[in-house]
């Protein structure tokens, strides 16, 4: 039987993590399923487990110096209902799973699990969010979510660190666009998802951010293509959409799996990007 830890506070949790390197378990919605066994028997975790969802230091959502801070133990339901969380992330979270799961699942867990189909991760990459990682003796570092997740199930988390906070810089945008494509409205993992927003100023595209989830080992986002879109006048964009889609066509190279096919994912991703770009100039928004 594997060891189980239930620390009383964050300091103790970091001590245990440093000494025994247990798997940190938050809401359990991924790990309790991944390692489940027969009904009535214990989950078969591959190593020691540390329950940290109850830690008070990891709860809450706050705003400070232009950024939103979300505690690692904050549930998806709490995020969905918060008025200070950026709209794009709320829209992504609202579409995740179902109410009972959102009452358990956490954003930190979604990041740590590093599934290519993690919907919240796609939104966090567009929002330029970071994770705060802490270790014993006041060790801390802040890493962009985009750099933190390196492949399916793989992250930069060291075996003595815990994700403690998610930090999202606040930014004014003209409108946000979240689209998820899945087999069932609730609970289905995404075939793909598109997260994007745009800032328009005096009729010119001041900033644009586009990310596609579940079409590669990690979220796909290209700052090079975004730079090419930025600076264009809104009314001139329609002439350039075809070239932009061609640019995206080169970097969106999904795989076939049980949820969808490569060809379907690619076509739908490009269609959704095209639809988003088409909305620019047609939507009513605050310039």
């Amino acid at each position: 039987m594997v060891n189980t830890y239930y620390p009383g506070n964050l300091e103790e949790a970091l001590e245990i993590r440093n000494q025994h390197h247990p798997i940190p378990l938050m809401g359990g919605t991924d790990l309790m399923v991944k390692y489940r066994s027969w009904a009535g028997s214990l989950p078969e975790f591959p190593g020691p487990v540390m329950y940290i969802n109850h830690l008070k230091e990891l709860q809450g959502i706050s705003k400070n110096a232009g950024s939103v801070y979300i505690g690692a133990g904050t549930t998806l339901s709490e995020i969905e209902k918060s008025r200070i969380v950026p709209l794009l992330l709320r829209e992504a979270v609202e579409e995740m799973a179902a109410p009972a799961l959102r009452n358990l699942g956490t954003l930190a867990g979604n990041i740590g699990n590093a599934s290519p189909a993690g919907d919240a991760v796609c939104a966090l990459v567009v929002l330029d969010a970071s994770v705060k990682l802490e270790s014993i003796h006041g060790g801390k570092r802040v890493v962009k979510v985009e750099d933190f997740i390196t492949g399916p199930g793989k992250t930069e988390l060291k075996n003595n660190e815990l994700i403690t906070w998610i930090i999202i810089p606040q930014k004014e945008v003209s409108f946000v666009n979240y689209r998820k494509v899945g087999t069932r409205k609730a609970n289905a993992l995404s075939k793909l998802s598109l997260c994007s927003d745009v800032k328009i100023k005096n009729g010119i595209i001041d900033d644009i951010r586009i990310a596609v989830g579940a079409v590669g080992p990690t979220v796909v986002r290209s700052r090079i293509i975004e730079e090419r879109i930025i600076g264009n006048r809104v009314e001139e964009l329609s002439k350039k959409i075809r070239a932009i889609i061609e640019d995206y066509s080169v970097i969106i190279v999904p795989i076939d799996d049980q949820r969808s096919t490569s060809a379907y994912r690619k076509q739908v991703a490009l269609n959704l990007i095209q639809q988003f770009l088409g909305r620019i100039g047609k939507e009513e928004y605050i310039d």
């Binding site: 189980t4 359990g28 179902a98 609730a186």
Partner: protein, 157 residues
């Protein structure tokens, strides 16, 4: 093994279990709460739904470590309350129960919804019950059941 303390349907409990044991197994096997069903065991079907501190959760995903100090409500307790009776009667009157396997989870999901939104429209009900699968009714009767309960039970929620 460790001693976990919580309340079940208002009654204080102390169980001596492994902290990684699923709440579902403890409720069914140790505490005889057989309304709590294991359908899929992976959070897709909602048959094991209970309330934890008033919030709907899939008990198949909750390790006992996360139950310490919380209040758990299962259908065995809820069915004796005025709200529970109202929902159950409304389900019966609209034909919302056929084989009955999903019903306990559906009732708990309906309670979670009505406690937040006492007068939901159809869309809100579908969203509230979106994590609960039913293979018999086609859902329409269940949705009507929740609507009827909301109407008859005005002031209850």
């Amino acid at each position: 093994m460790s001693k976990i303390h919580f309340t079940l349907n208002g009654k204080e409990m102390e169980v001596d279990v492994h902290p990684s044991k699923r709440l579902l197994d403890v409720l069914r096997d140790t505490l005889a709460q057989t309304s709590v069903k294991e359908g899929c065991g992976e959070g897709e079907c909602g048959a094991c739904s209970v309330l934890k501190d008033g919030l709907l959760v899939n008990s198949c995903m909750v390790p006992m470590a996360a139950v310490e100090g919380t209040e758990i409500t299962s259908l065995e307790g809820y069915r004796n309350t005025d709200k529970g009776k109202c929902l159950i009667e409304a389900f019966a009157d609209t034909g919302a129960v056929q084989c009955g396997f999903c019903t306990p989870g559906m009732v708990m999901a309906a309670e979670a919804l009505l406690s937040e939104n006492p007068a939901p429209d159809e869309k809100e009900i579908r969203r509230g019950l979106s994590g609960n699968l039913c293979r018999c009714t086609g859902y329409d009767m269940i949705i009507k059941g929740v609507m009827l309960a909301a109407e008859r039970g005005k002031g209850l929620w």
